[in-house]
Amino acid sequence: MTNKVTTYDHVASLLFDGMTLLFGGFGGVGTPPGLVDTLIQSNVRDVHLVGNDAGFPWVGMGKFIVLGRAKSLVASHIGSNPVAGELMTAGKLQVEFCPQGILVERIRSGGVGLNGFLTEIGKGTHLQYDKPLVTIGDKQFLYEAPITGDIAFVYARKADTFGNLVFDKTARNTNPFVAMAGKVTIVEADEIVEPGALDPEEVVVPGIFVTHIVPSSGYNWKWIWEMPDKLSRDERPSK
């Protein structure tokens, strides 16, 4: 079986200006910290991001968003990252809001090779945007288009060297679908094991969807609940 373990330097060489980057995580939980740092250090810009949320200014993909090098973001909310809101209001970050479960299904639809789906959720609201309306019988539905990415960033608890993945608690969230929807899927794993070391019944994402694997050093940010009381969530810690 192919050994897909590589280095962060190699990952950096795969990133490019204007790429669409899908990332796993929910409020930074399950967002790969080492890959976010690689993106930050790469100087790549005009990135089109797709992920559940904008993290916090010092957590998850939020660390990259605050630098102003993302061109657009498709997400379900950005409330925990006020800088993302400021960039949006200033016209420096184009934000498309998508209901949370609809967003993950759009990513899944791309990941499983389908052409999108119909739903009534969001119909008649601002989040309808210019999505096509489809009439079937006497009902109208929104057409939700599939999403795929040039690159996908995934965080896993364990990977074998072929890329079979196991996740951890609420760090699973969107990661399994993000993994399937990348043209190039890069997994950061807390633990990398030899083929055969994972129970085949426990594998959540088969390694066939995974392109590269890098070892993780774990989260390198403080969570909101670890911050001193006087530091509100609206403040950005100095570097």
Binding site: F26, G27, G28, V29, G30, N52, D53, F56, A75, S76, H77, I78, G79, S80, G85, M88, T89, V95, F97, C98, P99, Q100, G101, I102, V104, E105, R108, E120, I121, G122, G124, T125, H126, L127, R157, F167, D168, K169, T170, A171, R172, N173, T174, N175, P176, F177, V204, Y219, W223, I224, W225
Partner: protein, 215 residues
């Protein structure tokens, strides 16, 4: 009354809506205070949309960065609980497997239309899972302070803020009153904390009828 007191009153009253055997999803903000007011004998399953069924209280020690609620704060898993991905989480929500959804609100209109995701030009929290919770939950309860800080009403004839979902709220709980949303419009069910009917009339834009016990 300060905001903190108002939030506690709302959460305490909302806790009475939660009954044994229910599956409950709590939004961020005031709804996250509701478990503090549940009677110990009430046996419910909390669902968190980031992937938990059977969410337990904040851990006393050893918080785990990979185990949080939907607001990003550490929680625990009760015996028999489980974890799942985001697609499965919203399958539960859209398919109506969550009995009660308790959400914070910015405005609710007379027909139960909910606005809770954006104040244009001011706050841009985003919609999160609220549209789907509003769509799928058998019972959607909206919690909010009765008015804005400057006294402007939040219970409206028509929402002036961008809508999250139309005609979805079944009950509104504020620090002053409880309203049921019926096919005929709002019905005032209870006055809280010694609030007078006249006071509620003055700070509620939407018309409402009175439940028999208030007549």
């Amino acid at each position: 009354m300060d905001m903190g007191d108002a939030r506690q009153i709302i959460a305490r009253r909302a806790a009475l809506e939660v009954k044994s055997g229910m599956v409950v999803n709590l939004g961020i903000g005031i709804p996250s205070l509701v478990p503090d007011f549940l009677a110990p004998e009430v046996d419910v399953l909390f669902q968190a949309e980031n992937g938990i069924l059977g969410m337990g209280p904040t851990p006393a020690v050893n918080a785990d960065g990979n185990l949080s609620n939907a607001a990003g704060y550490p929680v625990t898993l009760l015996t028999g609980g489980c974890y799942f991905d985001s697609a499965t989480s919203f399958a539960m929500i859209r398919r109506g497997r969550v009995d009660v959804s308790i959400l914070g609100a910015l405005q609710v209109s007379a027909d139960g239309t909910l606005a809770n995701w954006i104040v244009p030009g001011k706050r841009v929290p985003g919609v999160g899972g609220a549209m789907e919770l509003a769509f799928g939950a058998a019972n959607l309860i909206a919690l909010m302070t009765h008015t804005e800080k400057d006294g402007r009403p939040k219970i409206m004839r028509t929402c002036t803020l961008p809508v999250t979902a139309y005609r979805c709220v079944k009950k509104i709980i504020t620090e002053k009153a409880v309203f049921a949303v019926t096919a005929e419009g709002l019905r005032l069910e209870e006055l809280l904390e010694g609030t007078s009917l006249e006071e509620v009339r003055q700070c509620t834009e939407a018309p409402f009828t009175l439940s028999p016990q208030l007549m």
